[in-house]
Every structure is written in C-alpha cells, then in structure tokens.
Amino acid sequence: MARTAKTRKTPAKSQQQGGPSDNSDFALHSLQEAFEKAKTYDASEDEMMEFYRQMLLIRRFEERAGQLYGLGLIGGFCHLYIGQEAVAIGLQSALDNDKDSVITGYRDHGHMLAYGIDPKVIMAELTGRQAGISKGKGGSMHMFSTEHKFYGGHGIVGAQVALGGGLALAHKYNEDGGLCLAYFGDGAANQGQVYETFNMASLWKLPIVFVIENNQYAMGTSTVRSSAETEFYRRGTAFRIPGMDVNGMDVLEVRAAAEVAFKHVREGNGPVLMELNTYRYRGHSMSDPAKYRTREEVQDVREHKDPIEGLKKVLVDKGKSEDDLKAIDKEIRKIVSEAADFSENSPEPEASELYTDVLVEEY
C-alpha cells in the first residue's frame, strides 16, 4: 500500500521552549568565559607553598607506594596518581570541608592525601594492615573517610558518578549548602551511567561538580581510540550542563576554574562539568605493558608540563630560595618514610576480622 507523506507541523524547538535559544546556549559557555577572564588563581605565597607541599607529598607518597609494591609489600592493583597532583590539590583546596563531599574511582590515594588524612593509615591500607584506614579490608582502591566526607575509593569504572549524584541529592535534601565533587576518568566518561546521572543531576539541579580527569588514556586505550567526542567538557551539552576546559597540570589554573565552577553550583544552578587535562606518568596500575605510548611522549610531559616543577618555578620567581623548597622536600621525605615504616611494621588484621563488618546489625 502506498503511503502519502504527511508534512508535520511541529513547532521549532526554540519556540517550544519559549525562550531565545542562543540565550540558553550561552549558559553552556558562560562559565568557561568567566574563567578565561582570570585563568590564574591569585594565591598568596603561603597558599602556594601549601600547594607545593601537598603536591610533593602525593608525588613522594606514590613513588614510595610503587617501591613497596616492587618489594611485594603491596599486592593486587595499585594505581598511582603521579603527574595528576595539581587536579586534586587545585580542586580540593577550594572546597568547604565542613560541608562538601568528594568521591572518586580507584586512583584515590592523592585525593585522600589532599584532605590531609594521615599518610600512615593510607599506606597501611595499601599494605593490608589492621591499622589501615579500612582495617586492611579495602586496599588501594577502596578507601573512605566519612569523617572528611570522602566517600571512596570505588573499583567499578563509572560507579562513583551515580553515587556522587546521590551524595549531591543528600546535600540538597538536607539543605546543608554542600556540594559533591565527583571525579572520573576519560575512560569512565564512556559509561552509560555517567549520562544517566548527568540527566538527573541537571533535571533536579543537584549540587554536583563532575570532574573528568582526562589523563589521555584508559589503561592502554588513548582517548582518540575510544571516544567520538574527545573534548570531554562538551559532553554535558545534551543535558544543558555547562562545561569547562581546564589545564590540569597547573594548580593555579585548576584552582581558578574551581572557584568559578563551585560558585555556580553553590548558587543553586545545578551541575557543572569540568574537564581537567592531565597526564599519568606511570603505568595504569603497577603492571602495565608500557607499549601503547612512547617514552618520549611521557618524557616530554614530565619535562615541560610537570605541575610540581611548574609551581616551583613560580615560587622561585617570587623569590623563594632553593633551600626553602629543599627543606619542604626533606620534611616530606621524612613523613613518607615514616608512613612506609609504619605500614611495613604494623600487624596484619586479626583472623577474627574476617567476619566483622559484613553487616552493621545482628539479625
């Protein structure tokens, strides 16, 4: 049977929404524009020294973790944060720690250190000891500190995004003024639940900052080999979530972007999507074939974009002496050594711990 084509009289989208479309499109770029105007956070010298100290702590801690792994003291998967330090420090330094929450994936040591959580209990978790922050039952990928409103530490790629949506829902429900900072990787950005969460977060105007830590690779798959849209900050557009494109190798730029994003979210405007462009120097986890990128590529980033060296340069230009910076390095080495010693010497969990914490209550 032949069909006659009907001409549909559907009103144009902009008419349906009853608003000028360019106006609402503008909203998607407005944060980036605000950020472009002042891309460097005007940090005091003390703040800068503190950023330097914290980034260096992460770097040295992770190097030590890598070494302990090599000695067989850490097992399983262990994902190091080396190269990405400016992301956690730049963002988390802008949080209100009395209210805001943080959630991330398995590459979580840096985010915990950024909170000032004792490196000893983190390292002891990596070595699977009773004194570890999860009593040795979580390991590298599963660490939490509800005291700091740090909600983990999740091993399923992308799960933390929906869970973060729930934390944001709780902030809104309790009207506590807090926001949730939910980190995930460029690889995780291809998970369906990320977009399910984008949709609900935007629909319900949840106070959440989605942070894509684009370190260019998901295990051995580069973003161009996995992603149709590699400008990840644009990926919220379909959900009307404004995006921001940030250099994640510059802690002052990260912090400046955080200020813009957090303000937007705190004012009740719903989520923001930030893409933090960064780089992981080390293998995906401790065992990595190291065949999917060249050593020159890694070396180039280390030499020209290193977040710690970058800030060091700013500090030296501001008149800080090499000795001042060396003193920090020394202090941090001591902290990390003590953490390593602690993590090697504290006992493994008691056998009786096997059956504790399965359930909270007794039935």
């Binding site: 090599g70 829902l169 639940q193």
Partner: protein, 467 residues
C-alpha cells in the same frame, strides 16, 4: 652510604624477570621518581624508578639479562656527595646478602592456615537468641488489609517517623506507582520525598545508594526486579560491599524494593525470581514476604535497618487480603522464619507466593491424613536455619517449594543445609518443587505447565512420605 638497587617484584607472586632496558648509565645523576629501568615478565612491563637521589655507581646486571631473581642487587647508587667508586666498593662487601629474597609480606593468603587460625575465623560468634515476633496484645483488632496497602502504610509510617526516609523510582509519584503501591504518598509527603525518576535504573539505583552513603534512608522502587538487572552493579558492588570494604566506616542503609517473580502472561523477560541471586551476596539483607502482616512489619524493619536490603514483593499477591494486627508500630524481626501451619509428618519450606501454594497443599494433604508443617522463610538472607532444622528434627521429611528456577535456587541452599546440618534427622531425601527449568513461556497452557502449583507439592510430599 651506597644504596643497593634490588630487582623489584611486579606482583607478590613474581619470582624473576628480565631487565629489558636500562634508561640510565653509570655516572648519571638521578633524583627520586626518575625511571631507571624497564623490567619485564611474561605478563607485563614495569618501570623501575629511583626512590633516592644520587649517582648511578655501577650497573651490575646488564640489560637483556633474563631470569633475574627478585631481590638480586642490580645496580648501586652513590648518595649525595659520595664517591661512585666508594659505592661500588661498598657493594662488593654486601653482595652476600643480595641473594636474599624480600620477605613475603602478605603471606597468609597462600599459606595453609594453622588450626588456631581456622578456629578463630569460623563465623561462630555467640549467636544472639533468635528474635521472635513480638506478641500481639490481647484484644488487638485484626484488620483486613491487602498486601499493597500494607506496603504503602509501612512506607508512610516510616516517612512520618523519620525525615530522612524518601521514595524514588519510575512512576512512584504522580502516577501513584506502576502497581499502585505508592498510592497517596505524593499527596502526603510532596515531591521532595516522593521522587519520579526517568527510566534509568542503573543511574537512579546509584543515586539512591549514594544518598544512603550520604546519610539518607532511600527506598528505591524498581517497577519490577526484572529491570533491576541494569542496576545490580550498584546493589551488589556499591551497596552490599561498602561496609566491609571500609572496615565498618561507611554504611549504606538503602532499601531496594519492587515486585519479583512471575506475574501473569507477561513472558520470559518480565517473569523471574531474583531471590537466589541476591541471597548469594554477603552484605545484603534479602526479604521476601508473603502476607500483609509480614509485608508491613518487615518493610518497616527494612527501612530502619542500617544495612542495605533487597525487598522482594510479588505482583500476584499485591491484591490479596490478609489479617493485619492494628498496632501503632508493627515491626517484625529480620532473619526469622515463621511457622505458618504446624504439622508432624513433613515440613514444607517456602517463601513469597510459594507459601500460598504450600498452604493449599497442606490442606489437601491433611484430608489424606498427612499433617504438613509449613515454614515461610520470610528472610532469604540471613536464612533462619534453626527453624528449618528444628522442624526437620520433628518431621524427618522435608520438601522445598519455590516459585523460581530449580538450579542454584533457595531450594538448593535449603537442601544443602539439611544435608550438612540435618542429615541424621532425614528419613527421606529432601525434594524441591520449583518452576520448570525454562524461560517462562507466554501461551496460557505452557505458562501453567512451567509454574509451581499445589498439586506438585502434594505429589512431592507423598514421595518423601513414601505413600
């Protein structure tokens, strides 16, 4: 002092590897974090980095060397201000120790556990006395209430009692619930606490779970549990395991609820019992009530529980009316089975809609002189073994009736318990009566054939009674 660089292990099980490449040469100064070498095993490559600052004194194992044992000194580093030759000399005097393997740190996983340890880890912590249902005071009015209303009332009462409790799911608010279980909740509690979600199970299960981690008490409704397969990751990986993985730090008091099991003529994708799936997961509570009293009393307990709960309802039972005690606060204990009918000749263990079939079968059997005891498990995890085993000790014969597939079922589990812990009481093999082992067909006659019914239970009971 010279620093010895030893062959690292890529994993706790690695014993030897290849030095694929040296990235430094003798005399190079290195600082912490610099990559010194690439080490390979058959599985992976690892970058070997410097921990300390210094000058590479001597490379003792050239690149390309295979089968280098973990712990072998492969190079020597001279510390700051130290002479390289000095470092090499120091190495010579210490090389004797170099063959030593690093102490395997976390060895307990591979070692045979000592008897001591075995004793310590059996889950034999002093069991608290099993809680039984609270006594219903004399003179309590018994109201006739449908399961649907009982569930709704449970939610409404808990929402009145605790501001943190809210409901979310598809069509729970304005539509009043796809099966009308949330009828009237929107009107009383408003859209903040009765939240319509988009059709996005994985996403909203994650949001519900995260909200519980953040201190709220979410009730996540699945339109049916068939659709929760898209969300099972959050139920199992996020909700069930968090308390354990965090060493008891982070709780997740969420309730996932909705209809489970076969409905009527909806075909295979909409008809499945997930009881055995969830009941296999440590860290979850799994409840599957049958009547109105249990639906209400156990849902209230589930909402109050600090643990994540999967609450399995049944669409075919929603409209059935049962007696329900009119009490201010009707809360029942989780983890306690209920004897629905006493008997001496045989025990029929069931749950959810199966209990109805079991009771019908028991009536039929009584006419023939067989007194069956019917146990409603009510909670599938933790399973009330004690009630099952006590009944078995009395009747010596047992049949499990389950509306669900037979393979790896709750029935399988109950049979295993009877074998392991009730063997001496058995006068006959335990039998299971389940659905047929096929995807549920649509055609009315085939569907009927595939599903459990009372006559099949009667038949199985007669078999174990040898009549």
């Amino acid at each position: 002092m010279a620093i010895e660089l030893k062959m690292p292990a890529l994993s706790p099980t690695m014993e030897e590897g290849t030095i694929a490449r040296w990235l430094v040469k003798e005399g190079d100064t290195v600082s912490s974090g610099d990559i010194l070498a690439e080490i390979e095993t058959d599985k992976a490559t690892m970058e070997f980095e410097a921990i300390d600052e210094g000058t590479v004194g001597k490379i003792l194992v050239p690149e390309g060397t295979e089968n280098v044992k973990v712990g072998t000194v492969i190079a020597v580093l001279a510390g700051e201000g130290e002479d390289v030759s000095e470092a090499a000399a120091a190495q010579a005097t210490t090389s004797g120790e170099a063959e030593q393997q690093p102490e395997p740190a976390a060895s307990s996983g591979e070692q045979e556990k000592s008897d001591d340890q075995k004793a310590a880890i059996t889950p034999g912590k002093p069991k608290s006395e099993p809680k039984s249902d609270p006594a219903i005071p004399d003179g309590t009015n018994m109201a006739s209430v449908t399961v649907r209303e009982a569930l709704r009332d449970a939610m409404a009462e808990e929402m009145r009692r605790d501001e943190r409790v809210f409901v979310m799911g598809e069509e729970v608010a304005e539509y009043q619930g796809a099966y009308k279980v949330t009828q009237g909740l929107l009107e009383e509690f408003g859209p903040k606490r009765v939240i319509d979600t988009p059709i996005t199970e994985y996403g909203f299960a994650g949001i519900g779970t995260g909200a519980a981690m953040g201190g709220l008490r979410p009730i996540v409704e699945f339109m049916t549990f068939n659709f929760a397969m898209q969300a099972i990751d959050h139920i199992v990986n996020s909700a069930a395991k968090t308390n354990y993985m965090s060493g008891g730090q982070m709780r997740c008091p969420v309730v996932f609820r909705g209809p489970n099991g076969a409905a009527s003529r909806v075909g295979a994708q909409h008809s499945q019992n997930y009881g055995p799936w969830y009941a296999s997961v440590p860290g979850l509570i799994v409840i599957a009530p049958y009547d109105s009293s249990d639906a209400k009393g156990l849902l209230k307990a589930a909402i109050r529980s600090e643990d994540p709960v999967v609450f399995l309802e049944n669409e075919l039972v929603y409209g059935r009316t049962f007696e329900l005690p009119e009490l201010d606060d009707h809360v029942l204990p989780i983890g306690k089975a209920r004897i629905m009918r006493e008997g001496t000749d045989v025990t029929i263990v069931s749950y959810s809609i199966g209990v109805g079939f079991a009771l019908q079968a028991a009536e039929k059997l009584a006419e023939e002189g067989i007194e069956a005891e019917v146990i409603d498990l009510r909670t599938l995890r933790p399973l009330d073994k004690q009630t099952i085993l006590e009944s078995l000790a009395k009747t010596n014969r047992l049949v499990v009736a389950e509306e669900g597939w037979p393979t790896c079922s709750i029935a399988s589990e109950v049979i295993a318990i009877c074998m392991e812990e009730g063997f001496d009481h058995l006068d006959a093999p335990v039998l299971r009566v389940c659905n047929e082992d096929v995807p549920l067909p649509y055609a009315a006659n085939l569907e009927k054939m595939a599903l459990i019914d009372a006559p099949r239970i009667v038949e199985a009971v007669k078999k174990v009674c040898y009549v």
